[in-house]
Structures are given as C-alpha cells and as structure tokens.
Amino acid sequence: MIPPMFCHKCGTQVSPDVQFCPTCGTSLAAGAGGLSSAPEIPWTPPAAVEVHAGRWISEGWDLVTADLGNYVLLALVFTVLSGAVPVILQGPMIAGLHIFTMKKLMGRRAEFADLFLGFNYFVPTLVASIVIGLFVFCGTLLCVIPGLVVAAMYKFTYLFIVDKRMDFWPAMQASHAVVKRDYVGFTLFLLLIVLVDILGALCCIVGIFVAIPVTFAAITVAYKEIVGFDPRTVDAL
C-alpha cells in the first residue's frame, strides 16, 4: 500500500502522482527529494556592503521577543545537545537556528522542529563547524585578535550552506567574500554579538538563552539584507 502524501507547505493530502499541490501550488518534487541533492544556487558577491551592526542586533532582538517562548526553547535544546555531543551536533543545529529565523523573516510558519532541519545539511555543516573551529583556534593562538577576525569572516557560512545549497568550502569562501568588503565593520559586529552573549550570561546565566537566539537572528537578518534569501529555499525545506 502506498503511504499517503502531504504537501510539505500547507499539509494538504495529495495524490502521489501529482507534481504540484492542488491547494497552494507548491512544487512537491523539491520537498520529496530533499535539498541535500539540490544544485548549488549561483551567487555573485555584492560590490559594496554597509555594516549596520546595531540595527541588525536590534531587529534580532525584536524577532526573539516577538516569539520568546520558542526561541528560548530552541536555545535551551541547542545548548544542551551541543554540550552533550560537542562538535558533531553544533553545525547542523546552528543551521537549524538560522532556518527558524529565515522562515520568520519570509513570513512562513516557524516551529520548534525547524531546529532539526539543519540535519538535512549534516555533512557540510559538520565539516564547516570543524574547519571553522580549527581556523579560529589557530587564529586565537596568535594573540587572540586574528581568531576574532577569522570568526567574523565565516559567520555567514551556515546560511550559504542552507540557502544557496553550497558545500562547506564554497560557503566559507562566499562568507569571506562578503566580510572582506568591511573587515572592521564585521569584526565589530562579532564583538557586539559577543558582548550581547556576555550581557545575557550576566543576567543570572539564564539570560544567555535569550542572548543566543538574538545573536543568530541578527546574523540571519544581516544575511537577508546583504545577500538575500533564495525564495525557493524555505518552500523546499
């Protein structure tokens, strides 16, 4: 017996032989096939980038406070699982945090389970987290500051993996291509993000569960403004 099929966007039960949802018109092929095998989306680095760190963090704050319960739960689960299984789960779950905010920014329904959608990109996000971690560690060994710059360079990597279907290395290069337009601005953005996390941790430790999603939301907001989301990504997730 063929199991029932449902549209991954609106949830309508559909016949297995249709290519598009009769209710909302979403392509069912992309959802069924998953994104891991989808081709990379061509992307050209912007000629100029303006860093608005304060506004991005402010918009991140607005997003988080508008759905505080879900965001705190996401941060809690992210922290516990990343702590319980270090390295392995961190990359995919960072991607999941970005996906949650991406959906919100595109006006779609975001839910707690989105945290685990990052596992659709398990290999590239895992390798990216290991490689970026190694680069940042080596940079930090050299009197700390190079580590900060390297961390700033690669903070859009997970978004490029998810949104543009890139492998880990092209995604890291794409993130670098954006950040190199203004190393100072993006490094200051990173320092502000770290400051937000420190302030969160100072609020009886539990504040960190608000600060963490604010920082990831701020990075997603920055990506949306500088690079722009591919409209097909969220529908296909």
């Binding site: 303006e50 060994l141 050299l142 009197c143 500051i145 190079p146 337009r181 203004d182 100072v184």
Partner: protein, 106 residues
C-alpha cells in the same frame, strides 16, 4: 564626502586617541598568547599591542623592541579603515612579512 568616510575617519581618530592616551604594562603579568603558553616562544604578533601603544606616543625604538614589524602592523591596522585596492596589497604583503618574521623569531 560621504557619511561612510566620515565615520571611518572618526573611528580611526578615536582608535589613535585611545592608543595615545592609554598605556599598557611593558611586561604584562598575564600573556593572552596561546602560542606563548604552549611553546614558551613569542608568536609573530606578540608585543604588537604594546608596540601600537608605544608608536602612538612616538616611542619608535620601544615599539620596534616589542615587535620589529610594529610600524607595518600599525599601517595594516589603520589601513582597515580605508576601503581601497592598496589595503588588499598591504595586507597580503603584511601577512607574508609577519609569517617570515615569526619563523625567525621562534
């Protein structure tokens, strides 16, 4: 003159003023360099912070004593506030120079 250039110039001036006004100990009690902790030898960038503070006060000999490439490091730092083609060349050459210096320093 665009707002961006004004902001960059203001940030560079603030940085220079801070380096000129404040001081850091010449022999710090705690060193933040992981490479130094691991090997007991200075990394290519060790002494650069102290050297930048000394340079801003015009103490060139002291700065070069802390890190021989301090003037280059200073130029690279302030070039960050300038979005031009020269900056990329300066940084590429500077990174190579610091790498070579680091090898000799070890």
């Amino acid at each position: 003159m665009t707002l961006s250039i004004v902001r960059r110039a203001a940030a560079a001036t603030m940085l220079f003023t801070a380096l000129w006004y404040f001081s850091v100990p010449g022999n710090p009690d705690v060193r933040v360099c992981g490479f130094y902790w691991l090997t007991g030898r200075p990394c290519p960038l060790c002494g650069l912070t102290r050297a930048l503070f000394a340079l801003a006060k015009g103490h060139w000999a002291e700065a070069v004593h802390f890190n021989a490439l301090a003037p280059l490091g200073c130029a690279m730092l302030f070039a960050l506030f300038w979005n031009g083609r020269m900056r990329a060349w300066l940084w590429k050459g500077g990174v190579v120079a610091f790498a070579v210096y680091g090898v000799f320093r070890i």
